[in-house]
Each structure stands twice: as C-alpha cells, then as structure tokens.
C-alpha cells in the first residue's frame, strides 16, 4: 500500500480535484495511526498527569513520559533533557528568557541571515532588554551559513549563537556540526541553539554528535499534532538554568517566601501540559520509525532532485537556494518572471484552483527575502506521502497558471 493511502485528508477534493499537498514545511498531514491515537487517548486514558494517583492518571502519566523517552531516543538524548513546549517558537522564546541572565550589557547574541522570524525576534527582544547587540552572520555562495563570517564575528562577548539547521526558504542543510565546532574552538562557554523545525522530519538528528546545547522543533512538522514542541537541552545546562515560567507541577516545595523546583525537565513544564497531543506525538514518532516510512524518507532526496530538475526547465523560473540537491532538504522555493515578477500569491491561488496546496509569501523571513532582492516566493515542500506524480501534476498546473497571469 502506498503511504499516501494512510492519510485520509489526501483523499479529499479541493475545487473538484483530488488534493495534492505540497506544503509540508508549514505543517505536515497526519496518518491514520496518529488520528486514531488521539481518539484512543481521549476515549480510554484521559486524565491529568504527574499529580493524579487513580488508574487513569497513572496511565496518562505513563503515556506522556513514554513520548518523552521516544523523542529522546529519536534524537539520541536522555529523557531528562526533553522539555515539552507549545512548538518551536515557544521553545525559542522560553530559551531567550532562560538564557537572559547569561547576557550582560555590551554582550552579543549571534544569529544568521536566513533565520525564520521565530529565531530572530526573541533574540532581538532579549538584546533590547539586556542592552546587548544582535550580530548577523551572512551566507556563502552555496547559501549556507558562512563559516568564515561566523568565525570572524565570534568574540568573548558572544554569549549565545542560534541558527537554523535547514532553511525553510532556501532548503539549505547547514553544516551544523562544523559550525558548532568553530564556535566551541573559539569560545567554549557560548551557548549554542539549533532550530531544527525543518530538519527533524527529513534528516537523522543526533544531538550528541552535533554537540549543540539546545535543539528545538515541533511535533506538527513530523506527522504529529499541532501545539506540541520540544526543547532539548543538555542536562548539565538545564540543571543550572532558572525556569522561564512558573506554576503547578514544577515545584518541590512552596511557601509565601520562596519556592524550589523539581529537576529538569519537570521544572520547565509548569501547569497542565498538552497531554493528549504529547501522547499522540509518540505515535507520530512510531510512524516515522516504521521501516517503510524510513525508506520513504530516504527517497525524499530523489523527489527533490526530480522536482528541482523539472521546475528549472520552466521558462522564467528562478529557484532559491543551493543548486546542489544533496545540500537540500524538504523544499524548493522559487519565483517566476514573465515580463514582470508574477506574484507568489497569485501563483498559489492559481494552483489552489487545481487542488494543489503550496505556500506563498515571505514565509516569516522578511530580512532573508530582502537580502535575496524579492518580496516573496512560492514554495513547494514535501512529505513521505508525496510522489513524482504529484510534482508532475503541480508543474502542469503551474504552467497553466503562468499562462493565465502573464501580461
């Protein structure tokens, strides 16, 4: 059976045609086993976690913690190093608060030119609060984070470096391990954050090998539910850092004068967490680790190479990011010029009329688009359910749309 068959949403029609979903970088569709898991949890084991001693509470807690273990295994970490959040954005915002005390006036926080707004604004605002400076590392000619520029800009003042593993616009797989090594060699106390939102579903991530301090990502970009994110942090660091928010479920004792915290990760998860979705996330990881899905993940490279080659044959199309598809992951963003630059939203709306879902706009990366000299781009992105047929159909529809819009 084709994997596509396991995604009920892909059976629906859009404007009279069967949906072709090419917007997985925004959010992925969910397989039946994940949908079933959600219903199963609410119909069998729903209860609050960590403070309820009845049977349901024990079951819910066990399932919740099981997902933590699955996530840890998935990225080669320990369960105590996995903090559940609302999503990647939330993880970075929490980190920017947790790391605030590491940054003194005059210090520097470094990000790259290709960051999503979610890995830019939290640091920009931290710098504002602490009177620190936000330093931007440029790109090299292969659209990777420029290692030489990074090295040149690093100093004893650099307290945090946060950058993206896979760019959600360029599709670049950044040489994360080498970049981290460069930072460590220069300044071993710099805290290193990696935004793995676009990498986690497509690459094998090993946080131990990467040697980052923190790695963040979202469940909904790995065939799981929305509303769940992960903040991986090295145990030694999590133990030292203060929580960014407070409430029930995170304390060892509370008086009116002072409170003390549980060990990580529980110190960082105050209040009732998104229990059901965390549990369901576990089943999304099970899905990703199935042999046939693993195989489909490996074949994504082939699909991207095919899509890149076919798309670049169309007149007027300029593809953003690296030409070498072995350095790409998950997505292809492009612009179309037919006399003038066709607006990505017009292209996306045109494609939608053929039942094809793509993303258009600045993709929450305004500074990057400005750097590339464009306002917006159109993006096709892939999941294990996509086929070469999907790409062919999409490109036929793209040709028709271009013909309609052309002056």
């Amino acid at each position: 059976m084709m994997l596509k068959e396991e995604f009920p949403i892909l059976k629906r029609n859009v404007h009279g045609r069967q949906l072709i979903y090419l917007d997985s970088s925004a959010t992925m569709q969910k397989p039946q086993q994940v949908l079933d898991a959600l219903q199963h949890f609410y119909t069998t084991s729903n209860a609050n976690v960590h403070r309820v001693v009845h049977t349901l509470g024990e079951e819910a807690t066990a399932l919740y913690e099981q997902t933590r273990k699955k996530v840890a295994d998935f990225i080669h970490a320990d369960a105590e190093e996995i903090v559940f959040t609302k999503g990647t954005t939330d993880s970075i915002n929490i980190l920017a608060r947790m790391l605030e005390s590491c940054v003194q006036p005059g210090d520097e926080v470094m990000i790259s030119a290709m960051e999503h707004h979610s890995n830019l604004i939290p640091w920009q605002q931290l710098c504002k609060r602490r009177n620190a400076k936000l330093i931007i590392v440029g790109m090299n000619k292969d659209y990777e984070i420029d290692a030489a520029d990074l090295k040149a800009k690093l100093s004893a003042k650099t307290k945090i470096v946060s950058f993206v593993h896979v760019s959600h616009v360029l599709g670049t797989i950044n040489p994360v391990q080498a970049l981290i090594k460069t930072i460590r060699n220069k300044n071993k106390d710099t805290r290193i954050v990696v935004d793995g939102a676009q990498a986690i579903a497509h690459l094998d991530v090993d946080v131990r090998t990467l040697d980052c301090d923190f790695y963040v990502f979202s469940a909904h970009k790995m065939y799981g539910p929305t509303g769940v994110g992960v903040l991986y942090g090295k145990k030694t660091l999590l133990d030292k850092l203060e929580p960014a928010s407070f409430g029930g479920g995170m304390i060892t004792s509370v008086s009116f004068e002072k409170s003390t915290w549980l060990d990580s990760p529980h110190a960082f998860e105050p209040g009732t967490p998104n229990i059901a979705d965390v549990v369901v996330f576990g089943s999304a990881i099970d899905f990703m680790q199935r042999k046939d899905v693993q195989k489909a993940r490996e074949q994504e490279k082939e699909l991207i190479t095919f899509a890149y080659a076919e798309l670049s044959k169309l007149p007027g199309v300029t593809i953003l990011g690296p030409q070498d598809c072995s350095k790409r992951s998950g997505l292809i963003a492009f612009t179309v010029k037919e006399g003038h630059l066709l607006h990505p939203h017009d292209l996306a709306t045109g494609l939608d009329r053929y039942g094809i879902a793509v993303r258009a706009g600045h993709h929450c990366a305004m500074p990057l688009h400005k750097k590339l000299g464009i306002d917006a781009s159109t993006r096709m992105s892939f999941g294990v359910y996509n086929t070469k047929e999907d790409v062919k159909t999409a490109l036929e529809a793209l040709k028709k749309t271009i013909a309609t819009l052309k002056k």
Partner: protein
Amino acid sequence: MKTEMKTETIKEQIGKESIDPNQIGEGPLTEEQQIYKENILDHYRYPHHKGTLSNATLMHTEHNPLCGDVITMHLMIKNNQITDVKFDGHGCTISQASASMLTDKLQGMITVDVKKITRDEIMEMIGVPLGPVRSRCALLALRTVMKGLENLQ
C-alpha cells in the same frame, strides 16, 4: 479498506452535522468561482489611475505583511470632495486590481461618503469569493484610504 472504515466511525461519532471531508469543494469551478476573471486581470494589467499626484492633499501608504503588497493612495481633496485620485504600489493581482477599481469609485466622491464604504462593497466590487487570507489583499486599498483620511483629521 481499513482506513476508510475508521474515518466513517469518527464521522459517525462526531454526528451527521459535521462536514464531510470528501464533499468539500466537490465539482468543477463555475464561471462565478473563477478567481482570475478577465475583469480582475484587466484591472491588473491596465490599472486605472496608476501613478502619483505631486501636490496631493493626502498621501498614505499601507502594507500587507502577508504577501508584501504595498499601496500608496494619492488624493486631491477640495471642499471635502475628491477631485483627483492616483494609486501607486506593487503586489498581487487581487491587491492591485482592487486598488484600481477603488480609484474609479473614489473619483468625485465626498469624503464623508468614502468613510462609509464597507468591506462588503469591496468584496462585491471584486466579484470573486475570497477566503479570510486573500481578503486582506482585496481590502488593502480601502484600508489605505481609510487610514489616510483618519490621519488627515
């Protein structure tokens, strides 16, 4: 097949009122539903009142951060009446066509009447059904005029 059975069960449990995922958007597009109708494409390709007014009474720019649409409205206002209007900017078909259509409407209007123009009137003018996301493109020109008039006071 197993998966379809599961969907059926979920549907049954949600109830008969729920949306049937297989029925959404069923059937081919009617003439009415076509988004890039000639009317819109004509305004986009050959916009009315495109340009600037060097001595405008009112000049205001608004952005649609969603897709990077930019509209600048230039109005010449004499005795509360719009005597001349131009628009400038760039962006998607919908944003530019709706600006062009709006300038036709604005020409000669009394400013108090301009302030009464509703969202629905603009959507009717565009004449194609738009979802909440693309509606923002359609409404950018009106928003620009409204904000500009507010600033004028």
